[in-house]
Every structure is written in C-alpha cells, then in structure tokens.
C-alpha cells in the first residue's frame, strides 16, 4: 500500500520527446511504472521510450485510459500543460518543471481548486512508492519498501534522507517531493492527511526549509489530527534574511519563515527535529520502538 501512486497508476508523460522527458520515461518504465503513453504536440503517431506519442492529452487519455500525468516541458509551457491534463480528466498531475512564474501558479491553483484533480509540484522531484511505481526523478535504487512516509520541499535533500534510511534498512511507503516554489499544488498538510489514513505508513518524515509558513501549519495539523509519529528536518538555519536560497520559495521575509521558528513550532507539538539529515534514521528508529 502506498499513497498517490502505485500499481493502479497509468501514466502519460507530457514532453516525452525532450531530453529529460525521454530519459526519465525509460527510468520509470525500468522501475516498473505503467507508462502508457506520451504527449508532444506535433509528434502524434511517433514512438518514444517504447511508448506511443499523442498530440494531445485528450487523445492520450482516450486511447490509453491514463489517470496520471507527469510534466517535463519548459517553464513557459508548463501552466498550459497542467490545464490541458486537467481538462483531459487526469486525476494526478506531477509537474517536475522548475521556474514557473508565480503569477502563473496563482492562476493554475485558482483553476484547479474547482476541479477533481491533484497537482504535485512544480519544481519537485515527483514521488515514488518503493516496489510499486515511481512518477518522478527520484533514483529507485536508493529506496526500499517499508513503513516510513516522506514528504519534502526539496529534491536532493530528500535523496539524502532516503539514502540514510535505506542504508539502515528502514524502508519507505511513499516519498513525496511537493516542490520548492512559494505556490504549489499540494501542501504538507495534504500529504500528512494521506499518510495518516494509509494503513501501511507507520510514521512520517517531514523535510522542510525556510520561507512561508507551511511547516508551522503542518505543526498545527499534527497536533490536531496525527496519531502517527513525525520526525522532521528543517534546512536553512544559517540562511540570511532577504536572500532567495535557490528555491523561489526559500526566503526569509520580514523576519518570518525562519528555520528557528519552524523548528520551535514542530517541537512544541512533539515532533522530533533532527539537527542534520543523517540523524533522521536514529530518531525514526526511536519513534517506532
């Protein structure tokens, strides 16, 4: 069992004929994900990475029964790709693309909020349910199946944590990268809700960073509704105020969004916060005992 992606996932890849799109499609197929097709306007009828390419999402969904889409198109085309997948009836959209303008994301979210669709990302590594399916770019070989659910705002930092857990033989149910942008499709709370309801997730690791207040709101939610143990790590203790630390969302504004504030909020509700990523397995091991 897992959340969001698994054996029932039927995936199409938007931007499948691009360099990244094609490479990662092959990786996802090798991992065992059911990739049923791809979409690149103007290249319908061709094949890429061993699957058929369609001109539009609508055609792809009609022909393959796809329920999930992953987006690898450049930032300027990404909002359109999200709207297209939504209107084609896709239920889960994962947008890997980095650099989508924030005003575009405001429109995307306002539109999606009235639809039966979930968006993960943008600017994210996607997600993986070890042993079942991966929809994204997280290397399958660093993961191992198990009961720890991971939700994170950053990519490589997540890999670091997965790797540390796997090295200790601690498996994961699903690892979800929600992305580093200020406005994205899915929040910590959304994913925590799903982990809480997932019978095979027995504890959760939350990896946050400076900027915004998503971690603080997650802390309130944990206090009110989570029965499963949560371990956390917050990146950016040494980040200066007012500077955007790579991710568009990672910025301390007007004294808000600091690592110290987030850590305090989480610790206040009983979440153990690791001092560094490699400490997370120790804290997780303690939590299940």
């Amino acid at each position: 069992m897992s959340i969001l992606v698994g054996k029932n996932t039927r995936l199409i890849v938007q931007g499948i004929t691009g360099r990244e799109g094609e490479f990662h499609t092959k990786q996802m197929i090798d991992y065992g994900t059911k990739v049923v097709g791809g979409v690149t306007p103007g290249k319908g009828g061709e094949w890429a990475a061993g699957v058929p390419v369609f001109d539009s999402c609508k055609e792809a969904v009609e022909a393959t029964g796809a329920n999930t889409s992953i987006i690898f198109v450049p930032a300027r085309f990404a909002p359109d790709a999200i709207f297209e997948a939504t209107d084609a009836g896709i239920e889960l959209i994962v947008c890997i693309t980095e650099g989508v303008p924030v005003l575009d994301m405001i429109r995307v979210r306002a539109y999606l909020d009235n639809k039966r669709v979930r968006l993960i990302g943008p600017n994210c590594p996607g997600l993986i349910s070890p042993g079942e399916a991966k929809v994204g770019i997280i290397s399958g070989h660093i993961t191992t199946p198990g009961g720890i659910g991971i939700v994170a705002r950053s990519g490589t930092l997540t890999y670091e944590v997965i790797y540390a857990l796997t090295n200790r033989g601690m498996g994961q149910s699903t690892c979800v990268g929600i992305g580093g942008d200020p406005i994205n499709g899915t929040s910590f709370i959304d994913v925590l809700t799903m982990f809480e309801d997932d019978p095979l997730t027995d504890q959760v690791v939350l990896i946050g960073e400076i900027g915004g207040s998503d971690e603080e709101r997650a802390a309130e939610f944990i206090a009110a509704r989570m029965s499963k143990p949560v371990t956390a790590f917050i990146a950016g203790r040494t980040a200066p105020a007012g500077k955007r630390m790579g991710h568009a969302g990672a910025i301390i504004e007007g004294g808000a969004g600091t690592a110290a504030g987030k850590i305090a909020a989480l610790e206040a509700v009983g979440v153990r916060v690791a001092k560094h990523p490699e400490e997370i397995p120790d804290l997780c091991a303690y939590a299940v005992r």
């Binding site: 300027r76 303008p101 290397s139 990519g155 990146a235 955007r244 990672a250 007007g254 153990r272």
Partner: protein, 428 residues
C-alpha cells in the same frame, strides 16, 4: 530582480499613477541642471538597492540648484550599507500633508496577490505589521476577476481617505495592480503615497520586485538589471546558471540542489564552522560549470576550506570530479578541500579525485567535520556527537484513544483535504 526607485516610478507613470517630476543624475553638475529645470525645491535621492536610505544619509533636500549640486556631490560616491552610490534621483519636493502605504505582494497562504494599505505610510511596512497589524488593510485579489472597484473603495474608506480623493485613489490602485500583473512582479509598492498640500495624491517613492522566473517574457525589464548592485561573483554565477549567495563565513560550499545546499551550510555551523556561501550547481551540471563554481568560491579571500557535497542523480559524480580537477589546474590554490560524492558514477568520481590526492568523505557529517578541522588547521578527527533523543511528550496518544480524537477531526479535514482523499474517506 529589484528595480531602482526611478525605474519603478517610470513604470508607475505609464499606469496613470502620478509621480513627482524628476530625472536621474550621475554627476553633481547634472543635479544642478535638473534642479534649475524643475524650478523649485528638490529632493536628491541615492539610487541603490537597499532600504533605509534616508536614515543612512542618502536622501537630502535642496532649496536651489547650487544646493542640489552640493548635496548630490555628497551623496554620489558614498558607501550606503556596502553599496557605492552611482546615481541620484533629483525629484521636485512634494508638499506632504499625509502619508499612506499602498502595496501588492504575493501571499502564500490564500495563494493570491494581496493589496495592502495603511494610513501609517512612510514607515517600514514590516515594522507596522509587527507593532500594529490592525493598521494594515489587506484585500486578496482573485486572479480571474482582478482587483474590483468595490475592493479599492473598501481600502480607501478603511484607511480614512477623504471622500474627494477616493476616485483618484481607485485609479492609482487599479494602475498599480495592472502594473504588477503586466511586469510579473512579486512585489510592487508605493511608500509613501502622499496627500499633497494641493489635495492631490502622488507616489513619492516606489519599489518593484520582479519574479526572476518570469524574466523570459520581459527582455526589456531584464535589461534594466543593475550589475553594479550585485557582487561581481554573484553576477558571474548568474550568467553561468549557478545559484550563488555570498556569506561571511570561512567554509566555501558547493552542492547540487537548493535544499541540500542549505543543509550542508547548516552542517558546517553545527560542527563549529561557518559557511562562506550558498551555492547550488543545479541538476546535471557539466565539468565546466563545476569549474566555474569552484573559481567563484575561491575568489572569496575569506574561504579557508572548501566542502563539496554532491548527491548524484541527474548530476554525475565523475563529471563533477573532472570539473574539480580542471578548475584546480587553472586556479592554483592552497585552500584545502573535502569532497563527498554519492550516487550516479560515484566510484569513477572517487578514482579521479584519488589521483588528485583530495580529501574525501563518505557521509555528510564526516565531510562537514573534516572541513571544519581543515579551517582550524587540525587533522580531521571525526567523531559524531551522540544523538540526542528527546523524550516523547504526551501528545503521542496511545492507540486506544485514537477514535476519540479522530471523530471531530474528520470534519475538520473536509475543509482542508482535497478531493482524492475525500473520496476515500467517504467510502469509509
């Protein structure tokens, strides 16, 4: 990307927002000419991208052209919070009766652009937000409906604007929102918006931040970037597609991925060092990009050791290793380095580095401790501190109490949870 005050006000003027007449001068003589042309009292304002210019002595009044030349001479060339003033704006001085704050920001929580206004203009709005949050009026703007007139009227009444100015205020607020959307701003503010002695509204100071991610559709605005205002190393990094921010510490950091880069910086501090920079080489960096990153780090004379942490995914460790070796051939340096490579092609990468006799590490903690030891000139003795485990607090409720807390919570979840989760709940 930040725009200068004069650039912001030029944009405002295009959107029917009244701004004072004025021009930019780079030498004192120009300030004299501008003041003479304006023919009245002027204000000479340093154009640097930092806040608090007035308090730092970068804004001065001048009663006549002679005065204007004199104060421009004082301001031009001065060091304002680490930036040299190269331009001044010479504006006609406003007859200020009242000061208002009006701005638009992106608010992450409602996921909307939000218009903010306050009768406490002229002050730092963040200060007002801290000390008197009730004095700030906030209105969220629907992206499809835009800013409606009833909303701007609501703001005008709430800040106690005289009735005869409400119509002009509406024009200004609408102009500000159109400007915000058209230039893909993440912040646009008029502070202060003043009520003049003649009973008019005028945008005396302005600030616009443009979303860097949207610059691809605004080449004209991208060209306005003032490279004098950033550290040369930050300019070079940006042109190379690297994300680099200079800090004050001693350990240069090179990492792939923003989150991991921050975690690596934090790690140096945890073990008693301090990071010299944030540097994300991004995904899939090739050897030349790695070499450029290393050159940028080593150009900082504070750097006493370099910590390279690469978690290979799209990025290949052997490419990174080749880049490091190439950079070291070019930049002869005695600065010691610690390299940690994990992931795609890590073995090949380690072989390349072993040939170059570089210090390597297996874990992030080990790498950070070695870097800190190198700064102190010690041989690295790696010893991980014992993991401090805090006792569980009462929140971890025993399983049998679960239903009791779950029932009311399910109702609450309906408000937050999106459809797929809702569906599964309904089935239960």
């Amino acid at each position: 990307m930040k725009l200068h005050e004069y650039q912001s006000k030029q944009l405002f003027a295009k959107y029917s927002i009244p701004v004072p007449r004025g021009e930019v001068a780079t030498v004192p003589e120009d300030a004299r000419r501008i003041a003479r042309d304006l023919g009245r009292r002027v204000v000479v304002k340093a154009q640097v991208l930092v806040g608090g210019r007035g308090k730092a002595g970068g804004v001065k009044l001048a009663n006549n052209p002679d005065d204007a030349e004199k104060v421009a001479g004082q301001i031009l060339g001065m060091d304002l919070k680490g930036l040299i003033v190269r331009k001044v704006l010479v504006d006609e001085a406003a007859d200020i009766q009242n000061e208002i704050y009006l701005g638009i920001v992106i608010d992450r929580v409602p996921r909307r652009a939000v218009m903010m206004a306050s009768a406490a203009g002229g002050m730092d709005i963040e200060e007002v937000a801290r000390t008197a949050p009730a004095r700030i009026i906030r209105v969220a703007i629907d992206p499809f409906l835009g800013l409606r007139e009833y909303q701007t009227r609501q703001i005008a009444y709430a800040i106690g604007l005289p009735r005869e100015l409400v119509k002009d205020f509406n024009t200004i607020a609408q102009g500000l929102y159109r400007c915000f959307v058209d230039v893909d701003a993440s912040l646009a503010e008029i502070n202060p918006l003043v009520v003049t002695g003649e009973g008019k509204l005028q945008a005396v100071d302005g600030k616009i931040l443009i979303d860097d991610n949207a610059l691809f559709r605004h080449p004209d605005l991208a060209a306005l970037r003032d490279v004098d205002e950033e550290a040369p190393s930050e300019t070079e990094a940006r042109q190379r597609g690297l994300s680099y921010i200079k800090l004050d510490g001693e350990i240069g950091c090179m990492v792939n991925g923003a989150g991991l880069a921050m975690a690596t910086m934090d790690m140096t501090q945890l073990f008693g060092g301090s990071p010299a920079n944030f540097l994300d080489i991004g995904g899939g960096a090739q050897a030349d990009k790695v070499a450029a990153a290393l050159r940028i780090i080593l150009a900082d004379s504070n750097v006493k050791a370099v910590l390279i942490n690469i978690f290979g995914g799209i990025t290949r460790c052997d490419e990174v290793a080749r880049g490091i070796v190439a950079a070291l051939e070019e930049v002869k340096t005695s600065v010691p380095m610690v390299v940690r490579l994990v992931g795609t092609n890590e073995e090949e990468g380690r072989h390349i580095l072993a040939a170059a006799k570089m210090e390597t590490a297996r874990t992030l903690a080990e790498a950070a401790q070695k870097a800190v030891a190198l700064v102190k000139g010690e041989a690295a003795v790696v010893q991980l501190p014992p993991v401090a485990i805090k006792p569980l607090i009462a929140r971890r409720k025993p399983v049998d109490r679960k239903p009791a807390i779950k029932k009311p919570a399910a109702k609450k979840a309906k408000l937050i949870v999106k459809k797929p989760a809702l569906k599964s709940k309904a089935r239960k």
